[in-house]
Amino acid sequence: MAPFAATDRYRSTAADTTEARVIDATLRCIARWGVAKTTGDDVAREAGVSRATLYRAFPGGRRALVEAMLRHELGRFVDSISVDLDAATSLEDALVTGMVGAGRFLRDHDALQYLLRHEPERVLPAFAFHRLDRVLAAATALCAPHLARFTSPEAAAIGADWAARLVLSYSLHPSPVLDLADEASVRRVVGTYLAPGLTG
């Protein structure tokens, strides 16, 4: 079992600093102006590269950049919680850590929050229907190995998938039933409703 192997695959952009710089620059621009008002020139300038370098880094254009951004941010998210995840001593601990961390990551994500507020049509379709498939698959691939320490690989995958769905739902449409900012609330939901169904 190699918990970080999957993370490496999704963090391939870390090995290529141009890609990573472009991604970070794009996210900074979006957090400031949104997608509609962010041009290739803006990104190139913010990243400190030429337009030519920008297009060489992402020959697939906007689509490729968006895919890379999603992978990059998922990888960054898992990195942000991995130390706490490693410290988890039970399945419930691991799920709570993951869900609280994910809630915080999404709340503090400036580019995402800008888009949700001002350009929801740019971001919501990426998390709907068949496009949500890939996000769930990626989140599961990254998080399931951490859960598999405490249960079967299958239950770990089911747990990661279930937790990801709830995090997305409650991040987009908050309710007191699952307050992602309140560890006690998350612990209560995980302990009562998720854990019994994940005994492997």
Partner: protein, 195 residues
């Protein structure tokens, strides 16, 4: 304005969108299709076209789930179904109906950026309706200790909606998988005997 008139307008909006898509659907088209004056339309939907389109989406999603509820029964002469059975039938029926919903699939393919934000505003309303449908059925079941029917109903409703829209790892056409999903996972923390 009467409920009938509102219904007629929303029905007309659906027809116009089915014909022309969301971007090209105009208030004039809808007024004409519904046989009402423009002024009547604007009085009913002061937010204009966006307001009307949002309302039409909500209307169709509500009808969608009403159809599912009717389909999964039980009929008036039959004994009530257990919660697990209801959820299984609901998942299968809803997933099939979604896959076969021609207009939804067309709009997702060609106008996702217009439809999905509208659906995103509608979904909490649908989740609330589903929660309210589930709660009394949960209250009739043998619940595990510490389970609050209102909370359980909400968590289940949101999870079910997510699964219906994006089954992901689950093949909702496979009865064995649906049974395992419902009984071994979704309801394991809710009811004492998932059967």
């Amino acid at each position: 304005m009467s409920g009938n008139q509102r219904e007629r307008i929303l029905e007309a909006t659906y027809a116009v969108v089915a014909r022309a898509g969301m971007a090209k659907a105009t208030m004039d088209d809808v007024a004409h299709q519904a046989g009402v004056a423009r002024a009547t339309l604007y009085r009913a939907f002061p937010g204009g076209r966006d307001d009307l389109l949002d309302a039409a989406v909500t209307w169709e999603v509500a009808r969608f789930f009403d159809r599912i509820a009717a389909e999964i029964g039980p009929g008036p002469e039959q004994a009530p179904l257990g919660v697990a059975e209801l959820l299984e039938r609901g998942l299968v029926a809803a997933r099939r109906a979604l896959a076969h919903h021609q207009l939804l699939q067309d709009l997702l393919r060609h106008e996702a950026d217009r439809l999905v934000p509208s659906l995103a505003t509608t979904m909490p309303l649908v989740a609330a309706a589903m929660r309210d449908w589930l709660r009394p059925r949960l209250e009739r079941a043998d619940l595990r200790a510490g389970v609050d029917p209102e909370q359980a109903a909400e968590l289940l409703a949101r999870t079910l909606l997510s699964l219906i829209g994006t089954p992901g790892r689950w093949d909702l056409e496979d009865p064995e998988q649906v049974r395992a999903l419902v009984r071994r996972h979704l309801l394991a923390g809710v009811v004492t005997d998932t059967g």
